[in-house]
């Protein structure tokens, strides 16, 4: 019996040892990769050679070596490799980062098939637009194609979407921010890394940052950001300006750097009506700690009161009533066409919350005044009174009409529209009556 156990142990040991050796990099094999790729794709080679990876002797096979049985493994010049390097692969060295990414909101970005956005892209646009558009940011569900030279289907490769669903079950792609093959941290620290996706009519974070004082300071002092420093603690290693990473990820004197990008975000401003995130009190605290590197407590407090008030304003004055009216229309099946987005009012309501409402709230969150007002609430008002309400009234349904009537005649925030004259309204601004209507929004939780 003992002998059998011994033999089994030896087999196991040899097996594991073999596995370790295989994973270990034989210089002669890794060297062969470089020989060709230096010539055939010199950019990759040079990016890698200038990188920290090269300095620490992390070579091609350290990341690309595959094990037999992996779905995307293929023979290439005598080595078993995979093109796709997943967070799981990166995690074999960068474990903490990989774990944080895996638990982050970013990692869920690929699971978008059930969302309204994806639905619209599939039915209104079509698969090519979904692949080159949505999935380029969100990440695709990687498809294996046995006929493809690297076993990856051209419909899903290349893809470096941040929520890519990989064949090994891991989520995301580190190259979404740390572009291959330099994988630099300074690149991910710069706002340009985020700007590939966080921009445009529905969530113009890039544009808001650029318009804000933060962006202004950053672009003025972009060379003084100590951006390549290993330690990058705001207020310690740099102080001129914050980048996206500063507030959402990077280290402060009290907090460690995190790759869970949602750790300091207290609201989710994505849905039609804003929601607090789980554990939002702690998350708000985390963010305030970042602000404190450069701002006094009082300043920070004031900012969040102003920000929250805009969120509340949008929710209470526009989002909730519009959503309620849409619910009546949907419940009573008033729309001519059954499919969502096949009716005018679907688009009007969609743009109200998905585009305009979000622009307003994001503008307030990141101090881009023009986005709060002209690209934000201003568009919301115009849409609400002159597109949404008229479109809803067109159904000529008594319940819809009653809801609209009640809103415009009873809600103090909307009463101006039907019942007051300009002179009366100007007077109420002057004497503070108007401001009183909105004062409840400022300290609302």
């Amino acid at each position: 019996m003992k002998k059998i156990i011994l033999i089994i142990s030896i087999f196991l040991f040899v097996g594991i040892w073999g596995e370790l050796l295989a994973a270990n990099n034989d210089a002669k094999v890794a060297g062969k990769c470089m020989t060709c790729h230096k010539e055939k794709s010199p950019g990759i080679y040079k990016q890698w050679q200038a990188s920290k990876h090269a300095k620490h002797n992390v070579t091609c096979l350290s990341c690309h070596a595959a094990k037999r049985g992996e779905k995307d493994a293929f023979e290439h010049e005598g080595a078993l490799i995979a093109t796709l390097v997943t967070p799981k692969d990166c995690g074999s060295c960068h474990k903490k980062e990989a774990d944080e990414v895996n638990n982050s909101y970013h990692a869920t970005a690929g699971k978008i098939l059930q969302s309204q956005d994806a639905y619209l892209a599939y039915i209104g646009g079509g698969t090519p637009a979904v692949i080159a558009g949505c999935e380029s940011c969100h990440g695709s569900v990687m498809k294996i194609d046995e006929k493809s030279p690297n076993k990856l289907s051209s419909k899903t490769w290349p893809n470096s979407g941040i929520g890519r669903i990989n064949p090994d079950g891991s989520l995301g792609s580190c190259t979404a921010c740390h572009t291959r093959h330099a994988f630099s941290k300074e690149q991910a620290r710069k706002p340009e890394a985020c700007s590939k996706c966080h921009l445009g009519p529905d969530h113009p974070q890039k544009e808001i940052f650029e318009a804000s004082k933060h962006g202004n300071a950053y672009y003025t002092h972009t060379d003084d950001m100590n951006i390549k420093s290993d330690s990058w603690v705001v207020g310690v290693d740099y102080f001129e300006a914050p980048t996206c990473a500063t507030c959402h990820m990077s280290a402060t004197a009290k907090q460690k750097i995190t790759h869970d990008v949602g750790k300091r975000i207290s609201w989710t401003l994505r849905p039609p009506i804003s929601k607090h995130k789980d554990n939002y009190v702690q998350k708000r605290k985390n963010m305030k700690d970042v602000c404190a590197a450069c701002h006094t407590e009082r300043f920070v407090e004031g900012h969040f009161v102003q920000f929250d008030a805009v969120v509340n304003l949008y929710d209470e004055k526009f989002a909730k009533p519009a959503t309620a009216i849409m619910k009546i229309i949907d419940d009573k099946k008033l729309k001519r066409n059954k499919a969502d987005f096949a009716n005018d009012i679907d688009w009007i309501y969609w743009e109200l919350w998905h585009h305009e409402g979000r622009r307003a709230r994001h503008g307030a969150a990141m101090m881009g005044p023009d986005y709060t007002w002209w690209h934000g609430i201003y568009d919301v008002i115009h849409n609400f009174y002159f597109e949404f309400i008229p479109a809803a009234k067109e159904f000529n349904d008594k319940d819809v009409n009653a809801a609209i009537d009640k809103l415009l005649k009873k809600d103090p925030m909307h009463k101006w529209f039907l019942t007051k004259s300009t002179a009366e309204l100007k007077e109420s601004i002057k004497n503070g009556e108007m401001a009183k209507i909105y004062s409840k929004l400022f300290y609302k939780k």
């Binding site: 002669k28 890794a30 062969k32 230096k38 010539e39 050679q49 002797n57």
Partner: protein, 497 residues
């Protein structure tokens, strides 16, 4: 004797035409003999003199000879006299008197005709000979052959005559070439030719027959070290070395079949390309003397109804397509001149500026020469004004060299600009070897033609600071030490095979 010939000359110069013919024939004869004598004793060395001695003068000689009887018959018709009357008028009785061996005049004519025939045969031999000389090919059609002549003169084959490759031996080849030459004269006269002249040239004789006269396949053995120096575009034009050990063997002894495997007697490679440029290969078939064949089809270009016009058996010129008329690319041209010392590497940014100077425009020789000079002088005047004094010789030499490079490679009148004639040797810019050795040409199970980097050459340095970088002990400081180790062991393993 002398009097006799003077009499004869006087006699045949019956009118102005006859006289002109006589003068032309006699003077061109004397001139030719004179020039030939001068050439033989070595006073005349100008290569172009052949155009006069062997082409122009014999031509004038023949024209003169034709004019003489023409004048005679014209006079005869105009005057209405009989031949006898004319003869009596022009010659003495003594000369016309019949003897056993004919009249004196007849004898004079016979002797002169013999001399003429002899002279003309000699002249035509010399003419054909001269037409076989490179200088004739290169300069007779100056504008058209200019580019080929310019590149030929600085080529590895500059001591091999054009006709050795372009015409070949035997009467058939001679007639072919003369017929072809006649067509070329017509196409030049009526401007029917394409500019630049398209390649490949189909009238070339079979490459293996030509090339293998000197380069025989049994001699392609072993390896050949090729060291290439590229200069960086930085201020110091830092040299970067690439050292390749080319495996050029043809045989398979000791498993060392190298690049010339393609033309080994045991192997035959056929291929077809999409068009005459032989760049987009549709299929490649390898046939070995054991009768086995293997077909590789292109994923990009293969169609079942392949046009068989472009089918070819691979030979020397499929790779060595520019063995002689080598057109450089500006970067490599400058690199070569720097490493030869023709361009002084201590001039700041000389590599960058030299390349910029010769690539800035496609224009005539005169304008280009001016632009090249303005570019370099302008650059140094603006950025390093002191150098115009201290290094004026170096700068002048660089300008001169670059003008030479330009004038050898660029021929405005023939539309020959940089890159017009690709060189298939090696695999610059994905051409050359990579036309076939790529992942698109696959066999029936989808396996591509091999294109391993070390299949055809070991690599001892690749854009490295030292020429034998990878043979040295690799340290982590190299960052790509794995590659050093791999390439060193590849080289050693191959060498001890």
């Amino acid at each position: 004797m002398k009097k006799k010939y003077l009499n004869f000359i006087r006699g045949v110069s019956i009118n102005k035409i006859g006289m002109a013919g006589m003068v032309l024939t006699t003077s061109s004869f004397i001139a030719m003999v004179f020039f030939e004598l001068l050439r033989i004793v070595g006073i005349l060395t100008n290569a172009y003199i052949g155009l006069i001695t062997y082409l122009l003068l014999p031509l004038l000689f023949v024209v003169g000879l034709i004019l003489i009887p023409f004048g005679w018959f014209k006079y005869k018709r105009e005057s209405g006299k009989t031949t006898k009357e004319l003869l009596e008028k022009q010659f003495t009785k003594d000369e016309l008197e019949n003897t056993k061996i004919g009249a004196k005049l007849t004898r004079t004519v016979l002797i002169l005709t013999m001399i003429n025939v002899l002279f003309l045969s000699l002249a035509s031999m010399r003419m054909l000979n001269f037409m076989d000389e490179p200088v004739f090919c290169g300069t007779a059609c100056h504008s058209v052959m200019g580019p080929e002549w310019a590149t030929y003169q600085v080529s590895p084959h500059s001591r091999v005559a054009c006709v050795s490759c372009h015409v070949g031996e035997g009467v058939g080849a001679l007639i072919d070439s003369k017929l072809n030459g006649t067509w070329q004269m017509i196409s030049i006269t009526f401007d029917l030719l394409e500019r630049p002249i398209p390649t490949p040239v189909h009238q070339l004789r079979p490459a293996r027959e030509t090339c293998e006269k000197c380069h025989w396949p049994e001699k392609f053995y072993g390896s050949k070290i090729k060291s290439i120096v590229h200069y960086d575009v930085d201020e110091k034009s830092t040299p970067k070395h690439t050292t390749l050990v080319l495996k050029i063997d043809s045989g398979e002894e000791a498993g060392k079949a190298g690049i010339h495997w393609h033309i080994d007697n045991k192997n035959q490679i056929r291929y077809a390309s999409k068009d005459d440029k032989r760049e987009e290969i549709m299929w490649v078939e390898v046939m070995q003397d054991n009768g086995k064949t293997k077909l590789f089809k292109s994923k990009k270009y293969y169609t079942s109804e392949n046009n068989s016009d472009s089918e070819r058996i691979m030979d020397c010129v499929d790779c060595h397509n520019r063995a002689t008329h080598i057109y450089e690319n500006p970067n490599e041209a400058v690199d070569k001149r720097i490493s030869k010392g023709l361009i002084d590497n201590s001039l700041p940014f000389i590599k960058r500026e030299a390349v910029a100077a010769i690539t800035s425009s496609f224009t005539t020789k005169e304008i280009a020469n001016q632009i090249i000079q303005n570019h370099l002088v302008g650059f140094y005047r603006e950025n390093y004004p002191n150098l115009l004094g201290t290094k004026s010789k170096s700068i002048d030499k660089a300008i001169n060299t670059l003008q030479n490079v330009y004038n050898t490679n660029i021929h405005y009148g023939m539309n020959v600009d940089w890159g017009v004639y690709p060189n298939y040797l090696g695999h610059k810019n994905g051409g050359g070897c990579f036309r076939c050795h790529n992942n698109d040409l696959v066999d029936e199970v989808g396996k591509p033609i091999k294109n391993d980097c070390t299949m055809c050459h070991s690599i001892l340095a690749n854009d490295s600071p030292q020429p034998f970088m990878y043979l040295q002990n690799a340290t982590n400081a190299n960052r790509d030490s794995a590659m050093h180790i791999y390439l060193k062991s590849e080289f050693l393993n191959y060498s001890i095979k």
